[in-house]
Amino acid sequence: MSISDKYHAIRFAAVEKIEKIKEKPHVLVGTATCGRAAGALTILDVFREEADKHQLDVIIDEVGCMGYCYAEPLVVIAKPGFPALCYGPVDEGTARRLVADFLVNDDPCYDFAIAALEPNDEFPTFEDFPRGVIEKKIILADCGLIDPDDIDHYLARDGYAALAKVLEMEPYAVIEEIKSAKLRGRGGAGFPTGVKWERCFQAEGSPKYVICNADEGDPGAFMDRAILESNPHQLIEGLIIAAYAIQASTGYIYVRAEYPLAVARLRNAISQAREKGLLGDNILGSDFSFDVIIFQGSGAFVCGEETALIKSIEGKPGVPDHRPPYPATCGLYGKPTVINNVKTLSYVPHILRKGADWFRSIGTENSPGTAVFALAGKVVGTGLVEVPMGTTIRELVYDVGSGIKDDKMFKAVQIGGPSGGCLPESSLDLPIDFDSLQEAGAMMGSGGLVVLDEDDCMVEIARFFLDFTQKESCGKCTFCRLGTKQMLDILTDITQGKGSLEDLNILQDLAEDIKMGSLCSLGKTAPNPVLTTLKYFRDEYEAHINEGRCPALMCKDLITYIIIPEKCSKLCDVCIGSCPTEAIYTRPDMLKAIHLDKCVKCNNCMVACPPQYKAVIKVSPPIVEEKEETVEGGKEDE
């Protein structure tokens, strides 16, 4: 039996099974980590119990993440005779209603639905919304729609077809296809994937290795996790193809131990692929043998750097080495090694199946394909989005993300995590691709995109990210170990109102030197948040230094909470109960006020104050309290 005959036999069985499922009502509950955090497992139980109670013949499956974080938990119901509908957020009551009204009876409960999955006469689809118009899903297309724990779901959607095709090609032809597609590494730097494979292919040394870098560690980034949890086979297929291209026999998936669900779903996916003969000896009857080992990292951010990652697998401390030599020639155990990000490998099956021309037709000339972003922060439609390269930040924030929460003013986007930068309003029309972001001082990074509004202090944002990189520095090289610490100390002083204008010059100089002088990419990119905020938001730094004022009212040392008597009500005292330090007291006229010396600026009173009063406000610079009896304070305790 030929490779393609073997594949078609496997696929045919899968298609038959999925067709049978489609004959019955099918409930899909998104139980990736994001869904679980929102209570998806409870919803899953409710569906199962209610279906039992009504003795319904329905299939209830767990699926991954569709990317609509703001609407979790998400449920898709496909009932024959109706368009498949997506509901969210679904609580227990909604779940019961959906069972009773839709599954038992025939009322699709449009009130709870977000969108339909396919065009119909009854209800709009995702493509009818601005987000759907701009989004172009390739590697997220099946996420949330297939059961990641059942390989047949993936097979029925042409899964592993690219592998079957590749196994009948020459290995170098595979590399040429990837080179021709101009696929660039999605881990951050955007290095051409085909060139990396070619170098490894040509390098001498045996055995060769392929490694999938799933050590996603940026604060606020969750793209890789969602893909691993939602469509692990897509990645595994990409990894096998990469291995075939460079003729490696062993692959590793380096995944964080903090992603237990991803690890579990990967394990299951790998064992199912082995059972089907898609992994292991003589894949699909060919001469090619390959297997995958899951390696769980212990959560060090620096282990996402490829040389540190290799050392970690080798059992050594995760500390980067100077490059060159690059892993493509001297990698794991000194052997030629290809290391690719989860997203990069996930594109591979699609490119091999649909061709390099198809891939190049999406996105921009030098950055073809799509970009996957974890859209977070002060944006209405938070979630996981996939847009063609070249989409502008404005489209991403306002059309895909539906704009800023609570009608606040847009201030900046933090793009690319701790290695990226903050881009201001004037950059809103910047097209997102590897090169234009780098020019603007930011970075594609792994794809975190945090939207910041008027309430976010840019100095504090820079301090937050630098605090992260400083803590995650391995400490090997001078610039990163001591330079980031120097910068962090300066930034901390500024947010506490203790900075000087001279500090700003030192900060700028240090940032430039660390960027140029550090050993690895962690250090080389760590100053980016500081450099971009200094460039675009210098006035905020100066306000902190010159006036002791935090314009965004965020830096605790530079603000004071006060209650405006004219707005406060005699009839309300919720703020008093909310205060953990008993700093709020009732004045003789029954209005409330805050003892500044007791206030710890926890923000509770501001949240507690009912919207009709909004009497609690923050002011900056802080009010210096007049000292009256405080001199004798403490005596009573003795």
Binding site: T478, Q486, D513, M516, S518
Partner: protein
Amino acid sequence: MSKVNITIDGQQYQVPAGEKLLWAALDCGVYIPHLCANKDKERPDASCRLCFVEIEGFDAPVTSCTQEVFEGMVVKTRTARVDRLVQTAFELLLSNHKLRCGKCPQNRQCELQKISRERKLKLKLTRLRPLLTEEKAVDDSTDVFIYDPNRCVLCGQCIWVDHKVVEVGAIGFINRGFKRKMGTFGDVPLAESRCTQCGECVKVCPVGALVFKEKTE
């Protein structure tokens, strides 16, 4: 052995092909600051970030300990960019270094002093903040030498000797980031570790972090 022609600061030299620029330059009598470099290491650490030079055709300064020489290479050891990087790296090291040279047993034999002399860099902090706010305890548990982590520049020379020359394996780098330091397994005093007190590590310490006791008296 085949040779290549290179130019350093306008002077032409013939150096062995395949050698790293740092060693080639030092052999030619051209000083380039360095702390972590070790000729016997297969893969340079490149961690002290002091040996920067500029090479014609390269868009940024490179560390000379990692850069192989090649025919026709044109090197400048002193440019504005190099001097700036070296100065910052040097000041950063000083900002975390116990700076009382007069009281240091290694006074006048210290590599930091040599760099300061060669590159006319001040041996005190003018621009940066002192990061050594609380001094770490000095380990004087062995009979032969003391270890003062407050003077350590993390060059790793002692660890190399311990692992690869005397093959004892008593010390290594422990902790991460700013807390990274040379230490024993579990950070126990050296006398309680498998240290044989052979003193070989002391001989390679470029600063006053590892010092023979006889010198401290």
